[in-house]
């Protein structure tokens, strides 16, 4: 019997190649993979969440803790979105969950995201790093003063703020590119393992042939980048 982990690697290799064919252009293979992924994920999430609700609410109601009927009713009300005439019912649990989330977050946001962040900017002007931090924070914040036209000395503050923001966006862009590479590398590491690489090569050849035939016979439309 084949090891389930090993089988997962082989299936993962096939599905990854199929998904990456979207880089050539939309095609039935990449679409089928997307649908497969969404279907499996939706099924898994449904099962896991149902299990949680069952263990933490249904069993309690069965055990006589009647208050837990409220979250169960609210959960069912969420499903009313499926019928347009009843959709208004789903707004109540959504409002409740947003309200609870906002309330909980706001409770400590003032301290965590405002006070302590401002305190962290109150630094001594005794090192280049501190000076850059103070200037960068002040000028970047000043850039968002939209009620004042950037004229006079403020024009220079505005420009310096913009430069800091552009540098920050550049860093974020670079990190995002790196993250995307890491996503690909994560898949390649499994696909190019010595015990999987021949399956990967085989799948690559089969999918290439299917696509080549599809494009040649015009059953699949060739995507032109121009």
């Amino acid at each position: 019997m084949i090891d389930p982990d090993y089988l997962g690697l082989i299936v993962g290799s096939l599905v990854s190649i199929a998904a990456y064919t979207t880089l050539i252009g939309d095609n039935p293979i990449s679409k089928a993979t997307e649908n497969l992924y969404l279907g499996i994920l939706a099924g898994y999430l449904f099962a896991t969440n149902w299990d949680y609700i069952y263990r933490n609410a249904v069993t309690k109601v069965q055990g006589g803790e009647a208050l837990y009927i409220i979250p169960l009713i609210l959960s069912l009300m969420l499903l009313s979105r499926l019928k347009s005439g009843w959709m208004w019912l789903s707004r109540y649990p959504i409002v409740l969950s947003i309200g609870v989330g906002m309330g909980l977050a706001m409770r400590t946001t003032v301290m965590a995201d405002f006070v302590q962040q401002i305190q962290a900017t109150l630094l001594r002007w005794n090192s280049l790093e501190n000076i850059v931090m103070i200037l960068g924070t002040a000028t970047s914040a000043a850039y968002f003063l939209f009620t004042t036209r950037p004229t006079g000395p403020y024009r220079y503050v505005n420009r310096v703020g913009r430069v800091f923001l552009l540098i920050a966006f550049g860093v974020t862009y670079g990190q995002t590119v790196s993250f995307r590479f890491e996503l690909v590398i994560g898949r390649l590491v499994d696909m190019l393992r010595p015990d999987v690489i021949w399956y990967t090569a085989g799948f690559l050849i089969i999918i290439t042939l299917i696509l080549a035939i599809g494009y040649k016979t015009k059953r699949i439309e060739w995507y032109s980048a121009k």
Partner: protein, 279 residues
Amino acid sequence: MSRLKKLLALDQRIIFLLLFISLAYPILNPIILPMAVQDYSRMAFEFAESIPPGSVVLFEGGNTAATYPQTGPGMVAQIYHMFTKGVKIVFFSIGAEQQIWTQKAIDEAISKLPPGVQARNGIEWVNLGYIPGGEAGVGALANNIRSVVKKDYFGTPIDEIPLMKNINDARAFSAVLWWGGSEGSIPYGIRQIAVPFGIPMSGSCTTNEVPNYSPYISAGQLKGLFGGVRGSAEYEYLLRLPGPALGQAMATNLGGLLWLILVVLGNVFYLILRMRGEK
């Protein structure tokens, strides 16, 4: 059309192919380039070192299938680090998929432990599994664990787990280790546990999220951060625990180098065209 214009209009599929080759080559033929440990990783490692043996830490495992290859090796290294220090761990995840990967990381770390180091389920560690509700769930967990979870990942009632005997809120933990993957959930831990309970916290996230959390490090709310595969590689390096992240970090370097060359060439070609008056 001039040659430069043709180059600027290069089909994106050729770029994808070049990138594929540059990322796959170092995996097939590992190359080790010199690597300096970043400040954030060193801070996070030193913070982990400072956690006293015998204490209990709260550990959020937020990796998914997509992010596990990047931050998973670092997560395994941190679990290994804690167990070898004699630190006990209470794991949880705020995503349904994440709980599986958290357990995988625990199993991997345990399989690497040297003889004599104990990591018994229920005594040295417990995995509480999936806690739904996002930030609200984290807040509820921090204030009353038993109000959100009755059984652990394996279905064992919490009250029957020796490690959980005297633990019911965040005050029982000496540190929070937040391996958020790409969840964007590190602020949940800061807002719901680190700030209100005054518990020190370090984190890990994917590379793209590092700039978002830098202000938290500057403010001292995060004691350090392992970013992406490089952060994982640095943890493996600092812990002297060879793992898969180092090779992956090298592949990222080569891909990044190619990307940099393409960006610079694209800009140079564009400037030349502008100087020539071509559009």
